[in-house]
Symmetry: C2
Subunit: 228 residues, 2 copies
């Protein structure tokens, strides 16, 4: 019997890498999908390619999308990435790093690819910490998209898996380490320097470092001097 096929969204960060490792561990033949969308941290895409290969994805594709054309986000437009907000402030309100309709667009492309390769399963690494800030990470959004996808394609039995949904960053780090994910390859920072070293001060870095700290493991990703 041939393995079931899944399309896995892969950004190059620690969450999606862990998500891919979980899909693989569940026995899926994984088609990893990344996007080049005018984001300033394109260094993530190199990370995604290495992760896809290391974790045994059948194929890895990078699709160019034109989100920058609309503007409206610190990740695609020329707005400053906030730093040193403190852990308490993170997760209150919709952050300026929110990209309009990003996950809707990402899932739509994943759905198109799924229909072409014959996948009935999509994996996306959204997690509990994201819910409060990003509307398109909430479980009710994912459920609504799944219903839309079933109605809008031939894949009437489509399932969207969110295996990180209930995990904290610490839980994700622990799960990934257990599955052999090399977190030294993953990139999370919203504002890395030219050689890809993380700033340690944006929301993404603060949450990631806290996660590793809580499980007593040194984050193996490169950081700029003095921030860790």
């Amino acid at each position: 019997m041939s393995p079931r096929i899944a399309v896995v969204l892969l950004s190059g960060g620690m969450d999606s890498a862990t998500c891919l490792a979980i899909a693989k561990a569940e026995g899926f033949a994984c088609y990893a999908l990344s996007f080049r969308y005018g984001q300033r941290h394109a260094i993530e895409l190199d990370a995604a390619a290495r992760i896809a290969e290391t974790l045994g994805a059948v194929e890895h594709r990078v699709v160019d999308i034109d989100l920058g054309a609309f503007g409206g986000s610190a990740l695609t437009a020329d707005l400053a990435v906030p730093k040193d907000r403190g852990e308490a402030a993170i997760g209150t309100g919709i952050p300026v790093t929110y990209v309009p309709a990003r996950n809707t667009i990402f899932l739509s492309y994943a759905l198109a690819w799924a229909e072409v390769v014959g996948a009935e399963d999509l994996f996306i690494g959204v997690n509990a910490l994201d819910y409060s800030g990003y509307p398109d990470c909430r479980p009710e959004f994912i459920a609504a998209f799944q219903q839309t996808a079933r109605l809008g394609t031939r894949i009437t039995g489509l399932t969207i898996h969110t295996p990180l949904a209930e995990l904290t960053k610490a839980g994700i780090a622990a799960r990934g380490i257990g599955l052999g994910v090399d977190f030294g390859m993953t990139r999370t920072c919203y504002d890395p320097n030219d050689v890809g070293a993380a700033c340690g001060r944006c929301d993404a870095c603060v949450l990631r470092l806290k996660g590793f700290r809580e499980i007593g493991v040194m984050d193996p990703a490169p950081y700029q001097e003095g921030v860790r």
Copy 2:
């Protein structure tokens, strides 16, 4: 009071042109959105630009999308467009001209732009004739996408308008003529020749010609010799 803003999907065909004219007649300031998606009939995009200007859209944008990368459709890959199927065969089964998840992707981009420009309304020109063949034209799909969009963005009051939903092609032609749409500008054919003249034999042409015939009006679009 400033007018309400709407994002209107505009392909360059007769349906979306009529849809834009209706949105405009309802008093919306219209932002028209088209896509360059590896389709073979890119001539539609020139039509879309002319239509947007003529019908007074505030802005017209063309977004490049990478659907061809996945293949799987006669409109984006190297499959033959079916011709001379006869009116009875049209609308049975999902046609090979179906593009995987196309309307999901189109609506996702429209949603992103809506969020940036502050629109709470989207217009899409799906109509009754499309329902049987294309799953992503059905009212239940549109309703599910609207719910997904409300959950996944800041636009909690988003409304997706489908003013052509209950119209036949004849009804659309009549409505468009009443609103002053110049159908000579619109392009519908799946397989036009080099100068943009319609084949008259693909499903899209057959349905369009039938619509004009039913209201006793000559379709002003250019056709190849002998097909009309």
